[in-house]
Amino acid sequence: MAIGFKQREFLLAVEGLTVSFDGFKAVNDLSFYVDENEIRVIIGPNGAGKTTVLDLICGKTEATSGSIQFRGKELTKMNENEIVLAGVGRKFQTPSIYDDLTVFENLEISYPRGRTVWGALAFKRDAAVRERVEAVAEMIFLKDRLDTSAELLSHGQKQWLEIGMLLIQDPDLLMLDEPVAGMSVSERVKTAELLHRIIKDRSVLVIEHDMKFVEDIAHKVTVLHQGQILSEGSMEKVKSDPKVIEVYLGH
């Protein structure tokens, strides 16, 4: 079976994906494939449909047509939480953390145990949980702030916390929406360092505007324009594509 073979080859296979909002096709017949351990960056001008693609993969938006296969599972038919359980993690553009909880509690909620109602009721904060939370906290530079209420963190720290919340889930595919946007220079450097560390052993799908950052991490770049792929390949190749220069890098 040829198709079965293809599914095993790629971690993520997006084929013919289309979504239309009231006639407007935000994503139009989009196909792309992500390998195991690949770092893919999606770039494109505003309104190109980048965030919508992530929304479609993680189940936030329902596709009008097309398919998204993740390790052979059809994601378009699954709920958000089932998609997470399948191994897809998502970070939002603006930091999405729980202000009223402490850093520890934020991370603990993402710990992949006790995710059913009864499981959550019976959940015990045992040594394994604490160790893991502390380990992740250390990685995201927040080890000494575990008891702090999350609302008191700086913007950059909130971004890290959300990344930490994803790390604790240990997803196979990590999707990051503009992870360094709105950060100070020093925070940016630290974040790049953090990302380099965490992207090992997993595939990553990143949306980013910061070209230096993109060049730094990307294995492969996909350029979206008006919901369609304009160009795809290595950063070098994309950079020299005249179409890309015209619509994106050109201005």
Binding site: E80, R90, R125
Partner: protein, 384 residues
Amino acid sequence: MIKTPRFLKRGDLMAMVALAVLLVVILPMTLDVFRLNLVAKYLTYAFVAIGLVLCWGMGGILSLGQGVFFGLGGYCMAMFLKLEASSVANTKIQSTPGIPDFMDWNQITQLPLFWQPFHSLTFALIAVVVVPTAFALLVGTAMFKRRVGGVYFAIITQALAAILTILIVGQQGYTGGINGITDLRTLKGWDIRSDHAKLILYFVEVACLFACIVVAILIRNSKLGRILVAMREKEDRVRFSGYNVANFKIFAFCAAAAFASIGGALFTLEVGFMSPSFVGIVPSIEMVIYTAVGGRLSIFGAVYGTLLVNFAKTSLSESFPQLWLFGLGALFIAVVLAFPNGLAGIWRDYVQVHLVRLIFRRRPPPGAVPGWTDDSVADAAAAE
């Protein structure tokens, strides 16, 4: 450095002791049976208020139909008591003896099928909790799985309250109509109307209340409690952390319904009748205000809020019936505009701060930083 949740936090224990002293010692010693019975009546609403803390305060799900569950629980209890009160001997003058009086007035000559099992006390007691909870499960599943939330949920629950009221009033042959089920007398031969019975019922109710408080605290202190709070803030984040948000909402809604139903059943026992006036929109919204006044995140606050609002209602309406509505209206506005954290918030922000300074002189104890986690401390303090 990282706090390990114990079975009950110290703050909760302190608050519980304080509440116990108030309810078990101070009130019974200072109040006559009539006033104590009033307190018992108010406390039945506290069950609803505690449920709303879980569902609304923590989970952010505002239900304007808690009266439905309170009423269903109360009706299940009332049906048993009414059947006991309608023995053939008691109803000789009816054209069909042995059935409740209102059925006889409505030319019903046979006990309807759904009334039959309520001859059994065991069945009735189970039904008190199961029927409303199952209804909540049904409504919750239908709504939350379809992601109906926030304002829409509030309006739909309100409509449900309206529907159930019209239905109960319209089907008076089966439900007693607008009069409700009245003239309940005995529970297994024990006269529930005597002063002695009222006293015993009061303590039974306080015991139930504490049981519910403990359950509510356990839920709040579990990971589920934190997920509820997380869900209220960033529903999508919880969803993308791998949780089925709908299930947690359903749980919170069902738990609130179960608490309300226990309150309703106790209400029937305390007051001696049940009527559709508890099912409707107005009482349902009033129950929300008890929680709001107590501080929507505080379990103990809900109890104090309920007691306070009802005391105010009784005393104000005794002396100035017209002022009462102005007062209640102003309370709604004030609690939203000025004191969104209610009594618990006032305690924490104003009283506790001074107390702490007074007692510790130097530094506040750990955990006095504002935030919901030390809510229990505020509770404990509020109780004193």
